[in-house]
Amino acid sequence: MKKDDHQNLDNQRLDLPEDRELNRLLAGWQAPESSGDLDERAIASYRGYFNWRRLWRRWLAGSIRIPVPLAAAAVLLLCATSFLAARKTTRISIESPPAVPPTKYVQVPVPVTREKIVTRVIRLKAEQGSPGSVNSARSDLANFRPVGEINILVHQGE
């Protein structure tokens, strides 16, 4: 197949001296040998990969041998522990405070009265000189002088 390809490819040029020369020159470039280090690394990686897989397989599907009395004791111990644990759980559930009933939310329809808010402000002007007005009070107190002595008389009410 290779020869056919060469023939197809080089139909027009194979007889030219340049191509023979080119092939000769290309053949002069030799690739070096791979180092022995590569072989060691490849085999080590292969072993490492399978050791790792074996380790996982052992963990997932491995088995161990136990004497029957030891296995029976282990089973009994497991049953006893489970029983005690179950009892403890029951007691805790009895002693535990009653659960708070969940809050119920009831939707109550409330009639809404619409109010009209009036924002008009009415100012009333006080008449000048009228009794009780601020200005008259100020004029009355202008000449006020406190008395020197005050006698207080208390009358018994009826």
């Binding site: 390809d5 092939n23 470039w29 791979s34 085999i43 292969y46």
Partner: protein, 187 residues
């Protein structure tokens, strides 16, 4: 034993099957990646990652089994990882591994070796300067002897596109490497 059977056993934890599979395809993946990126360190990393991802998820290959061989599948996986790196490093290429290779060749030293090393270095540079898709097509065709159909599978392109890339790559190399042609022909 077929690749499919070896892969099945290796994915089930059979280390011997993995080693057989790895030794069968290691050089192809490494050489292809090295020529594409021109860095030994990166090529080794990608080769390592390719095989590990194949073992971790062999179903990916099984899904494509109807149309792809493990050889092309691995090359496609390596190509994707290599292009991802190329994009990440903005086509920055490391040449450290190669210069060491050159020095060791030069230290053996007669003139012939020195000249070969020079030519080899020039070819390496010329291939390295090709656009990545042309480089990929050239490497798989010239060095890994893949057919155009296989390259098309690796690159996820049709045969016509691969043919065109290959043609342009060779044209470009012919211009760059013309001074090294023995017959003195110039394009």
């Amino acid at each position: 034993m077929t690749d499919e059977k070896l892969l099945e056993d290796a994915a089930a934890g059979d280390e011997t099957a993995f080693v057989s599979l790895y030794e069968r395809h290691r050089d192809l993946v490494f050489r292809f990646t090295y020529r594409l990126l021109q860095s030994q360190e990166t090529a080794e990393e990608i080769t390592h990652d390719c095989f590990l991802s194949l073992i971790k998820d062999p179903r990916r290959f099984k899904a494509d089994r109807g149309k792809a061989s493990l050889r092309t599948y691995l090359c496609a996986a390596a190509r994707n990882l290599a292009f991802k790196r190329l994009r990440r490093t903005c086509a920055e290429t490391a040449f450290d591994g190669f210069s060491e290779h050159l020095v060791s060749a030069a230290s053996q030293a007669p003139l012939r070796l020195l000249l070969d090393a020079e030519v080899s270095e020039t070819v390496r540079k010329a291939v390295g300067e090709l656009p990545p898709l042309q480089r990929e097509a050239l490497i798989l065709f010239e060095y890994e002897e893949m057919s155009l159909a296989e390259i098309a599978e690796v690159a996820g392109a049709d045969v016509g596109t691969v043919k065109s890339r290959l043609h342009r790559a060779r044209e470009r190399l012919r211009v760059v490497l013309a001074p090294y042609f023995k017959s003195g022909c110039r394009v």
